[in-house]
Symmetry: C2
Subunit: 214 residues, 2 copies
DNA sequence: TGTACATCAGTGAACGCGCGTTCACTGATGTAC
DNA sequence: TGTACATCAGTGAACGCGCGTTCACTGATGTAC
């Protein structure tokens, strides 16, 4: 439960402090990993005393959760936005390009996200939140794919656009793992594009073939 | 550096203690996650005093590394073995089945492995070790695919058998992420099989078509 | 196989540090007039 | 807009615990004869 649930006034100062703590925490978590970070370290990085921390959060866990929630929200909007804007006449390869560019962002976020994943894997309640975020992302992708020209050429093994979106996310997660290890973002992008192409375009490298086997 | 590097005699007792500590550590790490585990906890779980720990390891990091190394070795052999045994006339779908069954093992190992991943992501030297293990696994898979009947039907976008093996690993990693969150091993297996089929069989669900576009 | 001896491996008490947590206090912020 | 007042937010000292680390000691193990 968040400290200060009393519905009262939220001062400017408070908002600022909270944001400072979250920003500092992001940097520290990215650098050392959740579980190797103390409250003291976060406070020091943010330039506050430990008391400030306790005035805003009940525990490191709560801060971590808030941090993830905030950033994930941001990124989900970013992705949805990028996928939604352009007209309906984008073909599947173009959609693949768009998805690829927008999904692989900075390594720090991937590090924190993966920390959060293993955290969630051990706590069903947290896992549920993460699954919801993923579902939301998946929906945005399924939408985009559904509106793409030639989408009916999606391989039958994956089922509908929703199945295809699932596959996109799986490919993304798989590439993320590799990226975490070798740190090569450009290579990861190329690799993700290749995977998505193989998954979404019937292996021929083109969507010309429009037979539907559903 | 490992404690006790002196080439001298390694007593039975020592071997036993070390194994006990590693086993206990595995259970504790799986349950709480590296970074939320103290030396004290591991010793208590293993039934030894903290002195025993220091007699065998220099730090929790070293133990964690040894633990990962040991289990990864075991699993790599298991996978290689399972893929190598049967004759050369296994077609791609059958190879997919085999790979699927052998890769998704218990959740505890996936948890520890993912912990190790985020650990490695922050330490290039550790990352190198993990990359080597992955390369080894990939080679076993590429071998199997290369020897499979109908392997020449592999989609061109992925390149050769090695590229296909890369794709298999990426799919595996992607499915692992989902499995960590929902805990449904059966679903994960089905899902992995579907993904691999989509990736390796030109999307038609059969390898009958043998055109080669390399 | 048995005994004596040397070395080794694990014990557990002791020390001290880092840090989580609390709290009385003070400067900051917002409100009322 | 200015002033007085009430409440809030962050400070930093203090406390204590958990645990990392060390080490003198003792029972276990292996070896030599």
């Amino acid at each position: 439960m968040a400290a200060r649930t009393t519905g009262g006034r939220v001062t400017r100062r408070r908002v600022r402090t909270r944001a400072d703590l979250l920003d500092a925490a992001f940097a520290v978590f990215a650098a050392k990993g959740f579980g190797h970070v103390s409250i003291e370290e976060v406070c020091q990085a943010a330039g506050y005393s430990r008391g400030a921390f306790y005035s805003n959060f009940d525990s490191l866990d709560e801060l971590f959760f808030a941090l993830y929630r905030e950033r994930a929200e941001l990124i989900a909007e970013q992705v949805s936005g990028a996928l939604a804007v352009d007209g309906p006449d984008l073909d599947v390869p173009a959609a693949v390009d768009r998805v690829t560019e927008v999904l692989l962002l900075d390594r720090d976020w991937l590090l924190v996200k993966t920390d959060f994943l293993v955290h969630a894997a051990r706590d069903p309640a947290v896992a549920r939140t993460l699954l919801e975020h993923r579902a939301r992302l998946r929906r945005a992708i399924a939408d985009r794919l559904g509106r793409a020209r030639g989408h009916c050429a999606l391989p039958a093994v994956l089922g509908d656009a929703d199945g295809a979106a699932h596959a996109v996310v799986a490919a993304y997660d798989g590439v993320t793992t590799q990226l975490l290890l070798d740190g090569d973002v450009a290579r990861a992008r190329g690799w993700l594009k290749q995977l998505l192409t193989a998954l979404l375009t019937d292996g021929s490298g083109t969507t010309a073939r429009a037979e539907r086997i559903v």
